[in-house]
């Protein structure tokens, strides 16, 4: 594979909290413009993996290359121009209006004084359109519903304009309708510009449907890393190995794709 087509390259990445090993030798190559889902049981190391790629957590061993350079070597602002990370949950109440929060995404390209240019304003408006939050622009973040809030967080990451987007369980707390709205926003973004996404999720069927590639982690090891189509052919047995619980295949209606679930009988 040509190096110019690779967005993220992981080579034998290890990570540990104190002595507890979280990742044990992950090697993975993520192409540009691909959509990866990271799945696996709780504590498998999914969040750690994505945080290492984002430069938030240090790998204890191994190499992490983003756009051909070591992630640790990037200056903070330059890193923000190539990747945006959206945490599962912010660490506290964010006291800004929606518009101001999304504008904070432009920090990495703004001058010292932080005065937005015309381009910044346009990109922020664009990000708000994509995420369908234009009507919320003047609302305070603290007044938003869960679904609105996640879309605003996404808009903030989108406004950075980075070609790589890392999302840590963005839809876990959303109801099905809001989850769909979130993914619709993401799909709109994919049609607009070159974008590589890595998304952690527990919704396997959604991952198989919406992503091009799957990375499956268990106990800090990569059990599978490849295309969604290939993963599908190994279902449901690989899901059983992954989660230690029986999965069954259920035929989709009207020739739709097969879905997998843990229901006892249907």
């Amino acid at each position: 594979m040509n190096a110019h087509h690779v967005s993220i390259e992981l080579r034998e990445v290890h990570a540990a909290y104190d002595r507890y090993e979280v990742l044990a030798g992950i090697s993975l190559s993520i192409e540009k413009n691909s959509r990866w889902a990271v799945i696996g049981p709780n504590g498998a190391g999914k969040s750690t993996l994505i945080r290492i790629v984002a430069g938030l957590t240090k790998a204890s061993r191994g190499t992490v290359l983003v756009e051909g350079n070591r992630i640790k070597g990037y200056a903070a602002r330059n890193r923000a121009r190539i990747l945006a990370y959206m945490p599962q949950k912010p660490e506290g109440v964010i006291p800004y209006s929606v518009h101001d929060f999304v504008m904070l995404g432009r920090y990495c390209v703004m001058g010292l004084l932080g005065v937005p240019s015309r381009e910044d304003r346009e990109l922020v408006a664009d990000a708000m359109d994509i995420c369908d939050i234009r009507h919320l622009a003047m609302r305070l973040m603290s007044t938003l519903s869960g679904g609105e809030f996640q879309r605003v967080l996404l808009a903030g990451a989108v406004a950075q304009g980075a070609p790589l987007l890392l999302l840590d369980e963005p839809t876990t707390f959303l109801d099905p309708a809001h989850e769909r709205q979130f993914f619709e926003a993401l799909a709109r973004l994919h049609t607009r510009r070159e974008l590589t996404t890595v998304i952690i999720t527990h919704d396997i069927n959604s991952a198989l449907q919406r992503c091009t590639h799957i990375a499956a982690l268990r106990h800090g090891r990569l059990m599978f890393g490849g295309t969604a189509g290939e993963f599908r052919t190994r279902c449901p047995s690989i899901l059983r190995d992954l989660f230690s619980i029986d999965f069954s295949a259920f035929a989709g209606r009207d020739g739709g794709s097969t879905v997998f679930g843990t229901w006892e009988s249907l």
Partner: protein, 331 residues
């Protein structure tokens, strides 16, 4: 947009009020001095220019500086309870002052009181402890807060011991210093506080966009391109130096640093830090001028320690604001 109108109203309102306080409060006192009388009377001129004016200016700068310092710490630690003294700077300064008082050294060297110098040295010592934790141990914000609390407690223990062995007279002297105040501040003493304060204002005003990022949480701020640890350490260090200068000159005047930024936030929901800093400075400065004017005029000829006024005046006002405001929408 009504939102912008509101910001404009608050900023211009604060500007007008602080300008009025700066002009009117030096005239008020046991003797009211209007500028016209000063031209002919040398004594009045002396009282106005060399006693009241430096005092009012010192109150404005100290109150404003404390308010902005409180705002910075509240943002850095994402903790509404943080204030300028959170990291133990005032306790270090108080210990320095108490040691000087215990040793019986007083008087001044080239216009600079020895107690002030001792307090400044104490503040610097406590800053050194914070510095070790922040830069050398690479501590996170909770560890820093805890270290600050421990430093403060340690200093309080030592101060209590000094009270115990110092005897009634020295003990009262220490107590009076710890209550804080801007009485007796001369122009030369003010330099002590103005140099660190100017550095603080210059550096932080450049870094306000980073402060905005801190309130979104460390991981989002990191993702947006802020070097979180380095930026936090710069803020902590420069703020501690400014607070050290203010406390050395005025003593640990409480309350302003915690309520002025909160009051401004409540008046302008969703405000970003550059404007918030300006408003906090104006509000904190004006508030201390007014409190000090009350302190020296309420029961003449004696002066009430200004810390009592700030708490008794500010507390109820702030509670009322907290109670009345239901900040939901910006428009």
């Amino acid at each position: 947009m009504t939102h912008l109108n509101r910001l404009f109203a608050v900023v211009s309102g604060l500007a007008v009020v602080s300008l009025a306080a700066l002009i009117i409060c030096p005239m008020i006192g046991i003797v009211t001095i209007v500028p016209r009388e000063m031209i002919h009377d040398e004594n009045l001129r002396y009282v106005f220019l060399s006693m009241r004016l430096p005092r009012v200016l010192a109150a404005f700068c100290a109150g404003g500086g404390l308010a902005v310092a409180g705002m910075v710490y509240q943002a850095i630690f994402r903790n509404p309870l943080a204030d300028p003294y959170t990291l133990g700077v005032s306790s270090g300064a108080s210990l320095g002052a108490a040691l000087c008082i215990l040793a019986g050294v007083s008087g001044s060297v080239s216009g600079m009181s020895i107690i002030t110098a001792g307090a400044f040295a104490g503040a610097l010592a406590s800053i050194a402890v914070i510095y070790c934790f922040a830069w050398l141990r690479e501590a996170n914000s909770s560890t820093l807060l805890l270290a600050g609390v421990i430093v403060a407690t340690l200093c309080s223990g030592l101060i209590m011991f000094i009270h115990f062995i110092g005897g009634l007279h020295k003990s009262f002297h220490i107590l009076r210093w710890i209550m804080g105040g801007v009485d007796g501040v001369s122009y030369s003493l003010m330099v002590f506080m103005l140099i660190p304060l100017a550095a603080f204002i210059a550096v932080t005003s450049m870094l306000m966009p980073q402060l905005d990022q801190f309130l979104t949480g460390d991981s989002i701020a990191h993702s947006r391109g802020v070097n979180v640890r380095a930026s936090r350490n710069v803020f902590i260090s420069i703020t501690a130096v400014a607070v050290g200068g203010i406390v050395a000159v005025c003593g640990p005047i409480g309350f302003i640093g915690i309520i002025a930024p909160h009051a401004c936030r409540l008046l302008m929901p969703g405000v970003r830090h550059r404007l918030l800093a300006l408003c906090s400075f104006l509000l904190g400065g004006t508030f201390l001028i007014v409190a000090d004017t009350l302190a020296r005029t309420l029961v003449p000829p004696s002066e009430i320690p200004v810390g009592i006024i700030t708490a008794l005046l500010g507390g109820p006002c702030f509670l009322l604001l907290l109670f009345r405001r239901k900040s939901r929408l910006l428009v």
